[in-house]
């Protein structure tokens, strides 16, 4: 909100692009010219995600006097009225924009607390100047000039930050483990292989504020003593790949990457590695194999990558959101971050809200916010006003949480207790019409197709589980099938090699736990599957 200049921030992330933000952006530029307005009078800025993805394409309009409004489901014809809104002598009355106005005071926006997404939607992701104007790379330079690697790690430990990819491992502890390995080369890796269906948090950061991620990764490299780093992005995110590559080139140009950064002895080179469509590569040891140009199969741990990772060297692997939280933690101090959230889960978490929900999109809220606040107050519940049946968290590794438990505060432990998990942050809302055995079948089909085939419990077990679930879908199941299903779930969970297999039964187990009646009702003779009769020999 620079004095005197009006500004139109137009969402240019994949979600809005898929509904025509590209043509809208072009129409805005054309309309500005048509109205004889200069770029100094009205800035038109392509920005990252503006959160309310279901109402795209979105434009945030700031008039010269600072008045702010948000508009959605825009078409190119509305370009001129938008410009008049912020810079015209008087907006048209009645305004054709009225039906497109989105209330910025709605809880969907009002309850958000942007830490990781601070710059997302504010800056042009392709502009290094705008990123730096917002302070990006300031903390990295401060680390180089004023702090020691130990000092940096201390702040991260104080912050209580835990891995946002799903595991929830304390980030500071991981950094220490890598830093304290015997002398020799080290690597840092950003895991941007966001494969959970229904998750788009990391993509939004990659597309909306790539420099923040690079700064976080550079700080991590400084803290553990690495000189080489990789950003492993899934191939399904072409725009994210393009923007991270551009950001690396820009940072190199400004000598924020390369040899002897900012006159110090610290050097760092970063490289993007693109996946090729394999969900299992989100697992850290599989990801390392893939970076080395091999099949993305996991291996047993220990040794953990922190001890022996890329080419046998200690390797730090962190998820996008984890790294993107680091610059703010250093700027405000670890205690500031730790003051948000719950006892054991600190800070904020970004969620991708989708499914049967009125306001799908991206939300960042403090840890410990209840699911009900996120999906009902912010998300607006099921669009047709019917009630929510369940919320799925954690993707194919997580589970379904029934409506009755929506008051659960979201943190790592509480979700695990309910048989689900935090996962990376996808929240898929399900209405009454969604069949729970059907959901389990849907996820199992995914796990079958994504199992890498290395270990038998996962390769063969998921196929058997799917065949059993198919019997429920076609009402062919018997009481023996139900018992077999539970038994096999436990076995696959206990004996699979990596997280993919170990977590593959979770969608079945959690729906069995909370919606057992639906499995019983899906049997050939429902009566025989119910506990009263079904358990008797």
């Amino acid at each position: 909100m620079t004095g005197g200049q009006a500004r139109l921030r137009c969402c240019d992330a994949s979600g809005c692009r898929s509904v025509g933000s590209g043509t809208l952006l072009a129409a805005l530029n054309q309309a500005r010219e048509g109205l004889g307005l200069s770029p100094e009078a009205v800035a038109i800025q392509p920005v990252g995600c503006l959160r309310s993805c279901g109402q795209g394409p979105l434009v945030a309009a700031e008039a010269a006097d600072g008045t702010f409004s948000l508009f959605g489901t825009l078409t190119p014809e509305l370009a001129a009225p938008l410009l008049e809104q912020v810079a015209g002598p008087a907006p048209r009355s009645p305004s054709p924009l009225e039906a497109h106005w989105i209330d910025p005071a709605h809880p969907f926006f009002a309850l958000q607390q942007s830490v990781v997404l601070e710059g997302c939607g504010r800056i042009n992701p392709e502009s290094m100047e705008e990123a730096r104007a917002l302070g990006t790379y300031g903390q990295f330079l401060r680390c180089l000039q004023e702090l020691t690697p130990e000092g940096v790690r201390e702040q991260v430990k104080r912050s209580g930050l835990r891995g946002r990819g799903g595991g929830g491992y304390p980030t500071g502890l991981k950094w220490d483990t890598v830093a304290l390995q015997p002398p020799g080369p080290r690597f840092v890796v950003c895991n941007a292989d966001e494969g959970d269906p229904g998750a788009f948090m990391d993509r939004s950061v990659l597309e909306g504020d790539p420099h923040r991620l690079l700064e976080g990764l550079a700080i991590a490299a400084f803290a553990v003593g690495a000189q080489k780093g990789y950003v492993y992005v899934r191939a399904e995110y072409p725009l994210a790949i393009e923007r991270v590559r551009l950001a690396i080139r820009q940072a190199r140009r400004d000598h924020l990457l390369g040899e002897g950064i900012a006159g110090t002895s610290f050097s760092l080179s970063l490289e993007v590695r693109v996946g090729a469509g394999a969900y299992v590569c989100g697992e850290e040891t599989a990801l390392l194999h893939s970076i080395q140009g091999q099949r993305g199969t996991p291996r047993t741990r220990p040794p953990y990558p922190a001890q022996s990772g890329l080419w046998g060297a200690p390797t730090l692997i962190n998820n996008v959101e984890t790294l993107a939280a680091v610059p703010a933690i250093l700027r405000e101090g670890g205690d500031w971050f730790a003051a948000m959230g719950t006892e054991r889960s600190k800070g904020t978490k970004v969620f991708a809200l989708s499914g049967a929900v009125a306001n799908p999109g991206l939300v960042e809220v403090p840890m410990g916010t209840t699911l009900r606040t996120v999906v009902e107050t912010m998300g607006g519940g099921v669009p047709d006003g019917s009630s929510i049946k369940a919320v799925q968290t954690g993707g194919p590794s997580g589970g379904c949480i029934p409506a009755a438990l929506l008051d659960t505060p979201v943190d790592y432990e509480s979700l695990l207790e309910l048989g689900s998990m935090m996962g990376s942050g996808g929240l898929v809302v399900m209405g009454e019409s969604t069949s729970m055995p059907g959901v389990a079948q849907h996820f199992m089909r995914f796990s079958v197709s994504e199992s890498c085939g290395k270990c038998v419990p996962c390769r063969a077990g998921t196929v058997q589980l799917l065949q059993l679930l198919d019997r429920f879908a076609t009402h062919q199941a018997t009481p023996a099938d139900l018992r077999q299903l539970e038994h096999l779930c436990q076995m696959v969970k206990a004996t699979s090699l990596c997280g993919l297999g170990q977590a593959a039964p979770n969608p079945v187990l959690s729906t069995l736990r909370h919606f057992r009646g639906e499995y019983e009702a899906a049997c050939r003779e429902p009566r025989t599957c119910q506990p009263a009769t079904g358990l008797r020999p």
Partner: protein, 170 residues
């Protein structure tokens, strides 16, 4: 992006791709991406040349090429439709949409050969969850499909350039 259907080795081009990556074995996946861009798929002769250029056993190159979903070992059909079966699309009728497409195009979901002209592939999440359900026709994304309204759905599919196959049903 019309695929070049040839088994003729594109010798100099592949050598150039490998050289640009420093002929490093760890660049194998990137090299395969670029070779696939060149041919539209990964012909056997190209895999053999990649193995030579990167000094890797052919088994290793073949192993990687077959492991990852995005690498194609057969020439692609001229037209392709990908239907999203991610969770958000699933909840919003993605499976019904896939069935409607199977009948309309008269091809089976996930059949790599399709009918020779069209293939229908499932994908798990295109990241456009806010616009679910979605599909991609020859690279262009089509969003907010009206699964509950057969008439409107047929219009949307027609507009997206999906033909009604001779044996197909709308």
């Amino acid at each position: 992006m019309e695929a070049v259907r040839t088994e003729r080795p594109e010798g100099p081009r592949i050598a150039q791709i490998a050289r640009r990556q420093g002929c490093r074995p760890d660049a194998l996946i990137e090299v395969l991406h670029q070779v696939q861009e060149l041919h539209g798929y990964l012909p056997k002769t190209a895999l053999m040349q990649v193995a030579r250029e990167l000094r890797l056993p052919l088994s290793r190159v073949q192993g990687v090429a077959t492991f990852y979903h995005l690498f194609r070992l057969e020439p692609p059909t001229p037209h392709r439709c990908a239907v999203c079966l991610g969770t958000a699309c699933y909840v919003n009728g993605g499976a019904e949409l896939a069935r409607a497409l199977e009948t309309r195009l008269a091809v089976r979901l996930d059949d790599p050969a399709g009918d020779g002209l069209w293939t229908l592939q499932p994908v798990s999440c295109l990241g456009a969850c806010g616009q679910a359900p979605v599909l991609v026709v020859d690279g262009a994304m089509v969003t907010r499909l009206a699964v509950d309204d057969p008439v409107r759905l047929a219009q949307q599919l027609e507009q997206a350039g999906l033909p009604m196959a001779p044996g197909g049903v709308s």
